[in-house]
């Protein structure tokens, strides 16, 4: 039997960098974040996605590169030979504190993992800008036009909060929790799904995630693959099951198991991770490092699980 060699990526040169005074050797082209990971140095981030090209949108991951004028986003800045990086300098801590405060004061981060821990680590006090403004009525933010933004009087902290959009039975868009990281835009666009049902409308503080012409989801190009939910870091996009259970107070991740198995809707063989609470599937994700899916599913794989739960009641 002939064994033809499998095509492999060409070998990469290794470069030496210093992170917080410690030397590490990583492949050329690695990001600072990857180098930090290799050393076990934690770098907080919200907008980084392991299946997506970095957008540098959230600025939580900034680090200080010796000799550079500005702070650099660790998620996208590639390492260079001899680079010295500080991840916990006064300048870095100050920047992260401010970014967390601005995000926390204007966005509902109650379902964003790790934020409380980071606030404590950097001494961030998102509430120091005063009481939060009342949420906007549904649709009000979506109707705003560029150039007509009204600046508040400073008595309350401006927010992006608004009621959740519940316009279909499968998933919910709660844009009061949106930090505008662009991950859903990229997952729906050219990087994975290529449906282009999600874009950014508006400018500045009024910028928001929107369907085309702000139509309701069922009238948009959305195909309900849920690949945007898969990458959303704050819970702004969530399964209807999760949204409803959180509202009822029954959502409990401690009691959930996650089991990876294979979808049955076609022969492609997508890996699905079933999140199960009390013997019911409450959410479906896919492993991001899986060679078949890279974390992506279609409407059937993502939402088509309910048939096993139609219990006969007799």
């Amino acid at each position: 039997m002939t064994t033809t060699p499998v095509t492999l990526a060409p070998p990469r040169r290794l470069v030496d960098v210093t992170i917080d005074g410690r030397e590490v050797r990583v492949p050329e082209g690695s990001t600072i974040m990857e180098a930090c990971e290799a050393m076990g140095t934690d770098v907080p981030t919200l907008c980084y996605g392991d299946t997506l090209a970095p957008r540098n949108a959230c600025r939580v991951c900034v680090v200080e590169v010796e000799g550079a004028r500005t702070l650099a986003p660790a998620c996208s800045r590639a390492v260079e030979e001899g680079m010295a990086v500080a991840t916990d300098s006064e300048r870095v801590r100050h920047s992260r504190k401010m970014v967390l405060e601005l995000l926390g004061s204007s966005v509902d981060l109650s379902t964003t993992p790790k934020v409380d821990e980071w606030n404590e680590r950097y001494g961030a006090r998102p509430d120091r800008f005063g009481p939060r403004a009342d949420p906007a009525p549904l649709g009000e933010r979506d109707a705003r036009h560029a150039g007509t933004h009204e600046v508040g009087d400073g008595s309350v902290a401006a927010t992006v909060e608004q009621p959740a959009k519940v316009d279909n039975d499968l998933y919910v868009r709660d844009y009061g929790k949106c930090i505008m990281c662009y991950k859903c835009v990229d997952a729906c666009g050219e990087q994975w799904q290529n449906s282009f049902a999600i874009g950014i409308a508006g400018r500045g503080f009024d910028a928001r995630v929107s369907t085309e012409h702000d139509v309701a989801l069922p009238d948009s190009a959305c195909v309900y693959c849920g690949n945007c939910i898969e990458v959303c870091p704050t819970g702004a996009l969530s399964f209807a099951t999760e949204f409803d259970m959180r509202a009822e107070g029954t959502w409990d991740e401690e009691r959930q198991t996650q089991t990876t198995t294979v979808c049955t809707y076609c022969g492609v063989g997508c890996n699905v991770t079933l999140h199960v609470q009390d013997n019911e599937i409450v959410k479906v994700t896919s492993p991001h490092d899986n060679p078949v899916t890279h974390g992506n599913l279609c409407i059937k794989g993502r939402f088509g699980f309910q048939h096993v739960q139609q219990r006969r009641r007799d």
Binding site: T2, L170, T261, C263, Y265, V292
Partner: protein
């Protein structure tokens, strides 16, 4: 938004049912298993083992399929075991086996991302295999050209550089014309043809009549487009040819597959990284069901039932005697019911009443059986006809095991949920019946079954559960626990050493045979069938969730035809074939060409499309011609507001 009437969800079965006085009544597991075992034992005693048939489930695990075929061959003593791969992809297996000696797709999904030309033939993976299409789009974004060959301008075709909209059932003339053009343009890979193939000279003569002009007349595809595809395919450094049910659900499906394979032999687009043939399977374990020997002519690992050495190895392992002949295919089993030669049928997880063509004929045939035992999650239309119904667990989330996907990757299936109380694991049910028939198999775990079968199957031998976990699945062949083979097959064909090269791949000399159901003045429209994005097969699974995209069944029709017939979007029409008729609302869409209409079979309780389809079957693989029926469309007089009422299923 959601429209409930299209999709009443099925409820899970939690108690066995037994027919008594014409009605199904709840029964205990003991009673149901005793009755099933007694029925099979009695049938074998009275009519012999070959009056038994097993329909195994292309959606259940490899382990379950292995046990189902072992049950059939050892406990009953026949090779009459088959599954619904017969209704979709058996022709791909048959065609690929005939050419290369092995019935799997030759490449991996990843290669589609790293190729120069992608041809998608007779399929709409954007809807039916969405995650495969993501790999295609990666390739497209990296610069690969995409050609889509399909009667409909599908959502996949919208991404293509060129769409070749051929007439239904003219795949062979198109393929032959491409082959002829490659030969006449001097673009053949002569070294590959000389070393790795046989029958080229005959093929050259055979395709000679299919000039571009002749093919244009038959297929409806402009000659220039055919020429362009031929040149692009032959000149590409690497090229992938992928097909789906548009190629295989025809009466001459195996020939269609051979005609496509010929193109790869002409150009050497097989057996190299980035160049290959990729049939996409419609169900999660169609590949595995066949690999496991749940087919009438092969034992696990594609081992030929007619080979005495192979048989004797299995006879020793199973301590039994195997018949030295092939069993009946699914199609032949149904025909044998007509002849009174098949008396007992054990159906695991299949719904032939709604998935086989010509519903009324299927129901009539099942009624001739002495015993029909159905094992399923739901009380499907087939289960409603059964004598004994056994409630099963869902393989993909309520049991452990493995599935094999379209790139031959064996992947672990893991139990995430407990089945509803009363439902039981398929393998446990099989073993309990086997035990009552004198084969005390105990209750092996999935891993124990897997280890038994990989000891018997060289292509699975190196895949332990531990390794499958470690590598996120392994593609067959995998001969040893110490190595992994490349992700593509048949690299041997490129070897300079004839011994390593092995059996050359023969060109398939296959002639054109138009669809059996002819168009005429009474039945002027060509009806073809397929899937939509959010629904699946007979709807038993997908009716369980509320899809915002779901519109229910429609008859897709071109704007030209709609205008000619005076039809408005959403208007209900009567569609009739030579076999039956249904009422269905029309959807006017530019995806359809004039003369072509399209339906799914996702909503059989709303519109029973199979009343219209024809059961002309492929003589080699036994797959039915779902893709080509001749129909007539009639306006129905509508009372005011009738469009608001749910469509009524009608049969003639």
């Amino acid at each position: 938004m959601r429209s409930d009437r299209h999709s009443t969800p099925y409820e899970r079965l939690t108690r066995p049912l037994i027919r008594e006085g014409g009605e199904l009544r709840p029964a205990s597991w003991e009673e149901a298993l005793d009755r099933a075992a007694a029925a099979f034992t009695g049938s074998v005693q009275q009519h012999g083992p070959n009056a038994f048939g097993m329909l195994s489930c292309a959606r259940a695990t490899n382990e379950m399929n292995y046990m189902a075929q072992k049950f059939t061959r050892v406990v009953i003593g026949t090779h009459n075991v088959d599954s619904c791969n017969r209704t979709c992809h058996a022709p791909s297996v048959a065609g690929l086996s005939a050419a290369f000696g092995s019935g799997g797709g030759t490449s991996s999904y990843e290669e589609v991302e790293n190729t120069d030309l992608i041809v998608v033939w007779g399929g709409n993976p954007r809807f039916a295999h969405p995650i495969f299409f993501q790999h295609v789009l990666k390739g497209v974004h990296r610069g690969a050209r995409l050609f889509v060959v399909d009667p409909r301008r599908t959502s996949s075709a919208q991404w293509a550089d060129r769409w070749l909209g051929l007439n239904v059932g003219t795949d062979i003339p198109l393929a032959h014309a491409i082959g002829r053009e490659i030969i006449h343009a001097g673009l053949t890979n002569d070294t590959f043809i000389k070393r790795a193939t046989t029958g080229f000279e005959q093929y050259r003569e055979f395709v000679e009549p299919w000039t571009l002009a002749a093919a244009e007349a038959e297929t409806g595809v402009p000659a220039e487009a055919i020429r362009e595809l031929a040149h692009a395919y032959a000149l590409a450094e690497r090229a992938q040819l992928s097909w789906t049910l548009g190629v295989t659900e025809h009466h001459n499906a195996t020939d269609n597959v051979r005609a496509l394979i010929n193109l790869s032999l002409l150009t050497g687009h097989v057996g190299r990284y980035g160049s290959g043939l990729q049939p996409l399977r419609g169900q999660n374990n169609v590949q595995g069901g066949g690999d496991m020997g749940a087919i009438p002519d092969r034992l696990v690992g594609f081992q030929d039932i007619l080979d005495p050495d192979i048989r004797s190895r299995f006879e020793k392992a199973w301590n039994t005697t195997l018949q030295p002949n092939r069993g009946r295919t699914l199609t032949q089993m149904f025909e044998a019911m007509d002849e009174g030669e098949l008396k007992a049928l054990y159906v695991i997880g299949e719904n032939p009443v709604q998935s086989e063509p010509e519903t009324t004929k299927t129901v009539r045939r099942l009624a001739t059986l002495d015993h029909l035992v159905v094992q399923d999650l739901f009380l499907t239309r087939t289960a409603q006809l059964a004598d004994i119904v056994l409630p099963a667990s869902a393989s993909w989330c309520e049991s452990d095991g493995t599935f094999t996907n379209s790139e031959r990757r064996v992947q672990l299936v893991r139990k995430a949920l407990d089945p509803p109380p009363g439902a039981r694991d398929d393998i446990a049910i099989l073993c309990d019946i086997a035990e009552r028939m004198g084969h005390p198999w105990k209750h092996p775990t999935a891993e124990e079954v897997w280890d038994e079968l990989r000891a018997l199957s060289p292509i699975h031998r190196g895949m332990s559960y531990t390794r499958l976990e470690e590598h996120q699945g392994i593609q067959w062949p995998c001969y040893s626990e110490d190595s992994l083979e490349p992700g593509y097959l048949h690299g041997r064909l490129w070897s300079a050493d004839p011994a390593e090269r092995g059996e050359p791949a023969p060109f398939g000399l296959v002639g054109h045979s138009p669809p059996v159901d002819l168009l005429d003045d009474d039945y002027p429209f060509r009806l073809t069938t397929g899937r939509r994005l959010d629904d699946y097969n007979t709807g038993v699974q997908s009716s369980g969730f509320s899809s915002p995209l779901r519109r229910g069944e429609t008859l897709d029709i071109s704007p030209e035809d709609a205008e000619r017939l005076g039809l408005a979007d959403g208007e209900t029409v009567r569609v009739s074939s030579r076999r039956g008729s249904v009422l269905v609302p029309v959807a006017v869409t530019p995806a359809m060409r004039a003369g072509l209409v399209f339906m799914t079979f996702h909503f059989p309780d709303q519109v029973d499309t199979q009343l219209l389809t024809i059961d002309a079957t492929d003589p080699i693989a036994g797959t039915a011609e779902y893709k080509a029926a001749a129909v007539r469309i009639d306006k129905v007089a509508q009372a005011a507001g009738a469009a608001e009422q749910p469509p009524v299923p009608a049969s003639a």
